[in-house]
């Protein structure tokens, strides 16, 4: 989409410079305000856009202080007032007067009112916690497993690394890949059905940020034990403790780390 704000800023600066040279403070004032508005909106090129309320506040400040600035010297102030006085009083400016006072100002007021009362369609924002805190321990088919600093028995069993990797791969393609995808990038063929989408394992911002015990917990318990910030329907991850054994979960955890080249935290 074409962004018009740099243009507004540019035009404003040009108007300001020309009217400063022609000694027309009123138009200089309008030009400066225009340029400032454009520049404030242009912040979105380097950072998140400024909130509308803050822009409103700054603009009100500019309107007031530049008015002050142009009224310090008496002759400048009179020159500032002149365009307004001529439009309102001179006989030969009748058409302009009608145009501004009876058409432009009411239309502007109407436009602002319209903008204020127009119904807005925006979904309510919700703050979802993506990585909820894990419990200290979970019950896995009646067996209590402590998760705090839990170490993967599979990862430690380096002698059988290849065996575990192959087993994990098999489990992944039997259970996970429908959603999490062929290349573990969260784009399985039914991934589009979910909101939020299944997480990708590639990249450095998902499993690479998590301890292995947490991944184990998410696979084993799925959506079922998520805390209030994340439940119940903001995750469609099934609880696999009913389908897999403890070792199998560790194996598939091991696989998704190894296959994506990530290390647990």
């Amino acid at each position: 989409m074409l962004n018009i704000y740099p243009i507004i800023a540019g035009v404003g600066i040009v108007i300001s410079i020309i009217s400063a040279m022609k000694k027309a403070p009123f138009f200089n004032y309008l030009g400066i305000l225009m340029a400032m508005y454009g520049l404030l909106k242009c912040v979105e090129f380097v950072a998140p856009p400024l909130p509308g309320q803050v822009i409103l506040m700054y603009m009100a400040m500019f309107v007031f202080t530049f008015l002050i600035y142009f009224s310090i010297k008496e002759d400048q102030f009179q020159a500032f007032l002149r365009p307004m006085k001529t439009v309102l009083a001179d006989d030969d400016k009748k058409i302009l007067r009608v145009l501004i006072v009876y058409i432009m100002i009411p239309v502007l007021a109407g436009y602002i009112t319209y903008g204020k009362v127009k119904p807005q369609l925006a979904p309510p924002t919700s703050a979802r916690i993506v990585h909820p805190e894990p419990p200290a321990s979970i019950t896995f088919r009646g067996e209590k497993i402590s998760l705090l600093g839990a170490e993967s028995p599979v990862r430690n069993d380096t002698a059988n690394r290849d065996k575990h990797f192959e087993a994990g791969k098999r489990i992944y393609y039997q259970n996970c890949f429908y959603c999490h995808g062929d290349d573990l990038a969260g784009n399985g063929y039914i991934a589009d059905a979910f909101n939020p989408r299944p997480l990708p394992f590639r990249g450095t911002d998902t499993i690479a940020q998590l301890p292995e015990g947490f991944v184990f917990y998410r696979i084993a318990k799925g959506w079922t034990t998520l805390p209030a910030g994340s439940t119940p329907w903001d995750s469609s991850m099934p609880a696999f403790d009913t389908f897999l054994t403890v070792e199998e979960v560790w194996q598939v955890t091991f696989f998704i780390y190894e296959a994506t080249g990530n290390k647990p935290r």
Partner: protein, 304 residues
């Protein structure tokens, strides 16, 4: 008199006031700050309901969120709520208290378990919350990462015991120390104070402990000696100052978290503790004759 001046004045005053009102009404966010509602906690309340109440208190009446952020963030004043249950479960592993006692203690006697890197700024919760509410908050905290074992009214006895001992602790009579006490006796009292009533041993253990990063008892004196030399004051005064105004000198890399000793101990007891510390690696010079010196330091600390 020029006409019209008064009218302009009225317009100016009312105009400015109206403008400020406009800013207040339409620019500032509009919300009311309601006083906390009285929350009723019945006996045998469902665990879910208890947690919900705990969460509400955390965000509302308890005002915990003023200092405790939900998720960890840089520059936070106090530990984050998220995952705090797991942190507690981890910490109690090496202690002889269970999670329940730990949480109650942390809420009631807030200086007890200040984690590393945080200042002891938390006000005691029992001033603000009822027993039931304390239990609800504790249960909610525990639910953030650990199995909830706290419930109402089952946990009441544990909490009451703590509340009771907290009050009792404050009124423990000072040990009477006679003027002509022998040095041996003084050192014995000092040890009792150090290990028990003063609670010094919790942070400054008698032997090296990998979990404790504060100076241990045997090196305290040499630390004191070193800094006293740097400052050019005599060891006794510096030792007293460190005890009654711990913020005055904080060793490099350490946080200013030590509580002032005179809140817990009487001046005579502080003398005893000082003597005890001196006895670990040096000649004991402190005796009851040092009282005026100590009083001076206490006054100095109080004046700040």
């Amino acid at each position: 008199m020029k006409k019209g001046g008064f009218g302009k004045l009225v317009v100016l005053i009312i105009g400015l006031s109206v403008f400020y009102t406009y800013v207040g009404l339409y620019f500032l966010p509009q919300s009311e700050s309601l006083p906390p509602v009285v929350i009723e906690i019945r006996e045998g309340i469902e665990q879910d309901e208890l947690l919900k109440i705990g969460e509400d208190i955390l965000f509302g009446k308890g005002q915990c969120m003023v200092c405790h952020p939900n998720k960890p963030e840089p520059g936070m004043r106090s530990p984050a709520i998220s995952g705090i249950g797991a942190v507690i479960a981890e910490r109690v592993k090496n202690m002889d208290v269970n999670e329940e006692e730990f949480i109650f203690q942390a809420l009631v006697d807030t200086k007890a378990y200040i984690p590393e890197g945080f200042a002891p700024i938390m006000p005691p919760s029992q001033k603000l919350l009822t027993e039931g509410e304390l239990i609800a908050v504790s249960a909610f905290l525990q639910s953030k990462g650990s199995d909830v074992t706290i419930s109402y009214p089952e946990s009441l006895p544990t909490l009451r015991k703590l509340l009771g001992s907290k009050e009792k602790k404050a009124v423990v009579a000072s040990v009477e120390i006679k003027k002509d006490i022998s040095q041996e006796e003084l050192l014995k009292i000092g040890k009792d104070m150090y290990d028990d009533k003063g609670g010094c041993i919790e942070c400054h253990p008698a032997a090296l402990d990998p979990d404790v990063e504060f100076p241990i008892l045997p090196v305290l004196l040499s630390e004191v000696q070193k800094h006293a030399d740097e400052k050019g004051s005599d060891v006794e005064s510096f030792l007293f100052e460190s005890l009654v105004n711990p913020g005055a000198y904080v060793a490099e890399g350490m946080d200013d978290i030590m509580p002032a000793t005179q809140d817990e101990l009487s001046p005579e007891e502080i003398i005893a503790v000082s003597a005890y510390i001196q006895s670990k690696g040096g000649k004991v010079t402190v005796s009851l004759d040092s009282l005026p010196k100590l009083t001076k330091e206490i006054e100095k600390a109080g004046g700040q």
